[in-house]
């Protein structure tokens, strides 16, 4: 039995500490991103989500420079950017797109500067790659408690705000009429988004955390109609693809010459393939229902 298992799963995956840390933090990031991602996709704020992730990289590179907890760095800048986008933000969607773009540009500029200082002071060039593209297997286990607190905090806030958040996302005018403070909910949504993004920026890297945020949510919204079901499905898809990615990356040490392939590559590829496949399923289903009507 165990030999059969070993022919599929390489030895040591369940006893390796880096893998366990990656599985816990990656899993937390995937669940939180999947849940908040559903609201983000419904609200059409994928760009804002991506911008927050990219800007948080400035925090990541600053924490490298100062030698503090990288999660704190990612989180600090993501929260700052979320507040910035919401406060400067104008109601019109067109203007919001521009503001997000300009804040993103300034944030990335800062990131460039901090990474440059990283290179000079620590004489390592690895910081750019690790901040931007993630380094799941090198996450120190000491980050786990903070990561879990942030994850649970974000989920708790979503649970607390579930109904107003959903109503605002689906129909902001109706929400306004029912006495919900739409702007406040918008700000809170961006703040929860910042928590999720900081978590996933730690794991898959700043530029790829968008995959965990948008991918599972978009896939889930293709498959089911009810928002509650979509939340659970998105969280599950995120968790499965993340763990699947970790598993494949660990395995790839054995079937690629010399070194393994990066975790983030596998996670994103799994999500991308699922998105394409569910697109076909949806298309077939719609074609089927059309022919039934005819």
């Amino acid at each position: 039995m165990s030999s059969l298992l070993h022919s599929v799963v390489e030895a040591g995956i369940f006893s390796s500490d880096p893998v366990r840390t990656a599985a816990i933090i990656g899993g937390a990031a995937a669940v939180v991103s999947g849940v908040i991602g559903v609201f983000t996709v419904i609200r059409g704020q994928s760009f804002a989500g991506h911008a927050l992730a990219d800007i948080s990289s400035a925090g990541g590179s600053l924490s490298f420079l100062l030698g503090i907890n990288p999660l704190a760095g990612f989180l600090g800048l993501a929260l700052l950017a979320a507040a910035g986008i919401e406060f400067i933000g104008i109601r019109r969607a067109r203007e919001r797109d521009l503001i997000t773009g300009i804040i993103l540009g300034a944030g990335l500029g800062l990131s460039a500067l901090f990474l440059y200082f990283d290179v000079i002071t620590h004489s390592t060039t690895g910081a750019a790659v690790s901040v931007m593209f993630g380094s799941m297997f090198t996450i120190p286990p000491s980050i786990i408690p903070l990561a879990l607190i942030i994850g649970f905090g974000a989920l708790f806030m979503v649970a607390l705000l579930y109904r107003p958040l959903l109503l605002c996302s689906l129909d902001s005018e109706l929400a306004l009429v029912s006495g919900i403070r739409v702007r406040l909910i918008g700000l809170l949504h961006l703040l929860i988004l910042a928590l999720a993004v900081a978590l996933s920026a730690m794991t898959v890297g700043a530029v790829l955390s968008t995959a965990l945020l948008i991918g599972p949510a978009a896939i889930a919204l293709r498959l089911v109609k009810r928002p509650g079901q979509a939340l659970i499905l998105a969280a599950s898809i995120g968790l499965i693809t993340t763990w699947g990615g970790i598993f494949l990356a660990y395995d790839s040490f054995y079937w690629t010459p010399g070194h393994g392939w990066p975790v983030s590559f596998f996670i994103v590829s799994l999500i991308f393939v699922l998105y394409i496949v569910t697109g076909w399923i949806q298309w077939l289903r719609e074609a089927g229902s059309c022919s039934q009507v005819l």
């Binding site: 059409g44 773009g101 500029g109 990474l115 590829s269 697109g279």
Partner: protein, 277 residues
Amino acid sequence: MFSSIMINTWIVATLVAAVAGFVGFFVVIRSSSFAAHTLPLGTFPGAALASLLGVNTLFGLIAFAGLGVIGISQLGRLGRHEVATALSLVMLLALGTLFLSMSRQYSQQVYALLFGEVLGVSTTEILPVAAIGSLSVAIAAVLFRPLLLCSISPELAEVQRVSSRRMELWFLTILALATALSLPVVGALLVFSLMVGPAAVARTLTDSPLLAILLSVVLSLVTVWTAIALSYLTNWPVGFFVGGLGAIFYGLGRVWRHINTQSRRRAVTCADRTGTC
């Protein structure tokens, strides 16, 4: 700063800034900041692949810019446009991480491609940059009217039989070309900053399209020249100055417009009062 080593840098940077300022006008009126961010960032893995295969970087960049255009336009047909853009971007980047993991020694080059490297532009690089730049400006100039019409009023464009899907594809192609040439100079993460910043400022200052384009090109040139000069003096990355200047210019533009509308409103109320008197 103006020594013979730097001459090529100034020439290339000027070309890049002019094209970015021009194309940026369309990015801003179509509010496609996300696409303008996605194409450069998604194109960057092409450079990694090119260096892995040992071919000219420009080929890799153009190939991946093409993939980006196909991804955004094809996936966008099936689902939400924003989601399609986001997922095309992350898939291309994931390929990038794969290529990078295969060639660890290019870490310094990665940094340069992400954040820009103005020094060490060789004379042979000027010609392709000029050619691609003129091609993208030429397409934009030929399609100027339909592009503008589609961006401002899709319904009117529909009436005049301008296919908005085809215009979207042309727009993305122009964007991809501009991207491939500016990427090595400004860096993947900040190409879009150069496209969005100056054009956004120009938009806030004037409503006339031609004036806006002119203003956008001028501001873009000023941004790049200042950024290179500062980068040369401080040794800090060009990208930092490009992103920062973009934000500062935009802030100033907003303040200027605010003051302008305030004074105009005051003038109007004054006129009202004198009228009633």
